[in-house]
């Protein structure tokens, strides 16, 4: 073998198709197969099957037999809904449209809420509108058309599912492993840094960066449960343990956050003197975390837990000032919690890789109160309003104006609208221009290439090339528009008639539909992502301000106040992710002053702030000792008011420069509190017998949460000062 041949052989051996190429081949193959089957069997409108494949491929939530089954259930639901609505309102168009809009609202709501079955509800929605858009004069025609549509959609789903399951099956187990390994490594590093005896500015900087990584890994891991490939057998087998792993890691992150707040109050004392064996204690926890990481990574970690005890030098502890004693009590509890959690994490990692251990039920979720369960998500409500109005108005456009596309106005806007309702960041304005050019391109193929095709093989080759190119080269809205172009322009029947005027009218129809959806998408939020981001950030600070105000009242909260608190807590918890989604849609070329790095820091600042607010709320609800000094209460109340004022300032002006003010306020509050507690040391000594360790911990946890929240606010303030909010208000052509 010559050198050249050897190089060629090596290149062939090394050649691997990228995941994107594999995905594109799978979709193209499924699209060709369903068209061949439908044409061969001479079914009514054979392109319906291709439409189902393309629609599912655009929303690749799950590619397993189980998910394929769920989608089939969705089609059957859609068929029943379609026939039921036709039965209830065959001659009453307003009733018909209202019921159709209601069905779309229901399926969209379920699609958002029930993430596990969102594919089912997506199919139940789009297949129903597809059946309503059929041409039928009698009830028999309606039944036949609905049945054919259902059969062809089911055939599309079955073929697509079989192709994706048997050819290069996807599994995201490697993503789960990668994220878990990264998360556990970050947490091991955080513990080392938090309890470090010397906290230098360098250590603080590394700690901040590692905490940022930890947050990203936690978010990524949660999303990975719903990502493509998560429903494969390999992942589903141990999904309960994966979820438990995530839940334990969240608890450990919260514990580290509190530990960090507590340790910052111990800066003036020698921690190694109070806990002589702290280093071994810390090393054991770190070792367990590293073992868990290795077990998940390659199954090679050591599954062994040694009991470690936190020995305290009680004599030294008694000699400390009361404020320092309180601070240590809180940190001690957190160190003990970290030890328990690290043991559970190691055990959980072992269970994930051990196939002999199985768990049918997922890790139990935190119990929510009735208030938390009943509060509405404003954005979900908007999405429901949007899809209902869109469906209703699209039908009105057809009835009153009858523009090009005619009855298909009932088909495209609700189908695309469902995607926009779930993902409001989808830039529908960006669809109008690509739609015009891409649809015109497919119109040219329809006019010039398709009439020259003489066999099913040639037609299949054309379909394969088109679909492959779309899924390989295009993404985002371009992909959506191009797929709609193929399914609506390159339609094939056994008796094919080419009609340029009809096809050209369909281009006008598609472009008009996107413009129509764009106008109505203002109901959700501004379709300009930078505006939406600013609006959501203002909403975030409004909720933070209200939460501060509501929590300050001493009296027991009534039903309305409980709802208010639950609502604002929900907003604080969920808005960071929504803001992140919108930030991804901002085009940095249009706003060069706000670089992606600056935006990343801003998002991290908001996420950290949310975590601190959550900890602050939890600490506020803990039972406190009756012997709490009134001066302490007053100081905390003053601190609360100060924080509320800062949140109000940010709500009114996102660009407020407040970092130095927050920093000086924080120092003042800490110094005053320390002074208050130390001044009353005699009183505290007297009360020692009646104040339990738990109450001491709760008190310092409360002080620590104020401290932590102020630190997060300083961090956010320094980041937001680097963002040019005015720059985002500038108008540009998107």
């Amino acid at each position: 073998m010559t050198h050249l041949e050897a190089v060629k052989a090596e290149a062939v051996k090394e050649f691997h198709l990228s995941p994107k190429a594999k995905e594109a081949i799978k979709v193209a193959l499924a699209y060709c197969i369903v068209n061949i089957i439908a044409l061969k069997l001479d079914w009514m409108n054979p392109y319906w099957a291709g439409f189902a494949v393309a629609q599912i491929a655009l929303f690749p939530g799950g590619q397993s037999l189980r998910m394929g089954g769920l989608r089939i259930v969705g089609v059957i639901l859609a068929m029943f809904a379609c026939l039921l609505i036709y039965t209830i309102a065959p001659q009453d168009r307003w009733m018909f449209i209202s019921l159709a809009a209601m069905w779309m609202m229901f399926t969209t709501y379920m699609m958002i809420k029930d993430q596990k079955h969102s594919y089912l509800w997506n199919v139940a929605g789009f297949a129903a509108v597809a059946m309503w858009a059929i041409v039928a004069d009698t009830s028999v025609d309606v039944f036949h058309a609905a049945l054919y549509r259902a059969i062809e959609t089911i055939m599309g789903i079955v073929v697509y599912t079989l192709v994706t399951v048997f050819i290069w099956p996807d599994s995201n187990v490697s993503t789960l492993k990668k994220l878990s390994v990264g998360l556990t490594s970050a947490q091991a590093k955080i513990l080392g840094l938090v309890s470090s005896s010397t906290i230098t500015p360098e250590v603080k900087k590394t700690l901040k960066a590692t905490a940022a990584q930890e947050l990203q890994f936690l978010g990524g891991l949660k999303q990975a449960f719903f990502a493509k490939g998560a429903e494969t057998y390999e992942v589903q087998q141990s999904i309960g343990f994966w979820q438990e792993y995530h839940s334990l890691s969240v608890q450990l992150a919260q514990s580290f956050n509190r530990l960090n707040n507590g340790f910052s109050g111990l800066e003036n004392i020698d921690i190694d003197k109070i806990v002589p064996g702290l280093d071994q204690y810390r090393q054991e926890i770190i070792r367990r975390l590293e073992s868990a990481r290795d077990i998940i990574s390659d199954g090679a970690g050591e599954y062994k837990t040694e009991f470690v005890n936190l020995d305290i030098n009680e004599a030294y502890l008694q000699s400390l000032a009361p404020f320092d004693t309180l601070a240590f009590t809180s940190s001690r509890q957190e160190l003990e919690k970290a030890e328990i959690l690290s043991r559970k994490i190691l055990e959980c990692a072992h269970n994930i890789v051990d196939e002999s251990v199985s768990r049918e039920v997922a890790a139990p979720e935190k119990q929510q109160s009735i208030y938390e369960r009943l509060i509405p998500d404003l954005d979900h409500l908007r999405s429901l309003g949007f899809i209902g109005v869109l469906t209703f108005l699209a039908a009105c456009v057809w009835i009153f104006f009858d523009p090009p596309g005619h009855r298909y106005w009932l088909l495209l806007p609700p189908t695309v609208g469902m995607m926009v309702a779930v993902m409001p960041q989808m830039k529908t304005n960006a669809m109008v221009i690509p739609a015009f050019f891409l649809l015109s391109f497919f119109l040219m193929i329809y006019v010039f290439v398709m009439p020259g095709l003489t066999s099913i093989a040639q037609l299949s080759a054309l379909y394969f090339i088109c679909i492959f190119c779309i899924f390989y080269f295009l993404s985002g809205v371009y992909q959506v528009v191009a797929v709609i172009g193929v399914v609506s322009k390159l339609m094939a029947n056994n008796e094919q008639v080419y009609n340029f005027a009809g096809a050209a009218n369909m281009v006008i129809w598609s472009v008009s539909c996107y413009a129509f959806i764009y106008i109505l998408s203002y109901m959700l939020n501004s379709p300009r992502p930078q505006r939406a981001l600013a609006r959501l950030t203002r909403r975030y600070f409004r909720s933070a301000e209200c939460l501060m105000s509501e929590m300050r009242h001493n009296e027991k909260p009534g039903v309305i106040r409980k709802f208010k608190i639950a609502f604002h807590r929900y907003e604080i918890r969920t808005l960071p992710l929504k803001i992140k989604s919108w930030s991804k849609a901002i085009n940095p070329k249009h706003f060069p002053e706000n670089t992606p790095d600056k935006i990343g820091d801003l998002l991290l600042g908001i996420a950290t702030l949310s975590q601190s607010i959550e900890e602050w709320v939890s600490s506020n609800t803990l039972p406190q000792t009756k012997h709490l000094l009134s001066e302490t209460k007053q100081e905390l109340s003053k601190w609360n008011r100060g924080l509320e004022r800062i949140f109000r300032d940010y709500h009114n002006d996102l660009g407020s420069a407040l970092s130095s003010q927050v920093e000086s306020d924080l120092k003042n509050h800490i110094a005053t509190l320390e002074d208050v507690i130390n001044r009353h040391s005699g009183y505290i000594e007297e009360m020692k017998a009646s104040v339990s360790d738990q109450e001491k911990e709760n008190l310092f946890r409360l002080v620590g949460s104020y401290h932590g929240l102020s630190l997060s606010l300083i961090s956010y303030a320094s980041v937001t000062e680097r963002i040019s909010w005015k720059h985002w208000e500038k108008e540009v052509f998107a």
Binding site: I433, F436, F500, K730, V732, F733
Partner: protein, 69 residues
């Protein structure tokens, strides 16, 4: 007065309005890019509507000067 003439492309007769509209939209896209590049878009209250207006204006200009429809 100019008489509307259909465009024969590969044996398919295209209406002149379609050709004028394609040219109008392409020109509007180019104009929008330049307005963004030279930071002039900030003077408009609502760019999406301005884009629709530009497309219409350019289509009419093309219809008036080059492709009567």
């Amino acid at each position: 007065m100019s008489v509307p003439i259909e465009f024969n492309i590969g044996g398919v007769y295209m209406p002149p309005l379609l050709i004028a509209a394609v040219l109008g939209i392409v020109t509007a896209v180019v104009a929008a890019r330049y307005l963004n590049k030279y930071n002039l878009a900030r003077h408009f209250y609502y760019p999406p509507l301005v884009f629709v207006a530009l497309s219409t204006i350019f289509t009419v200009i093309y219809g008036w000067l080059i492709v009567p429809f």
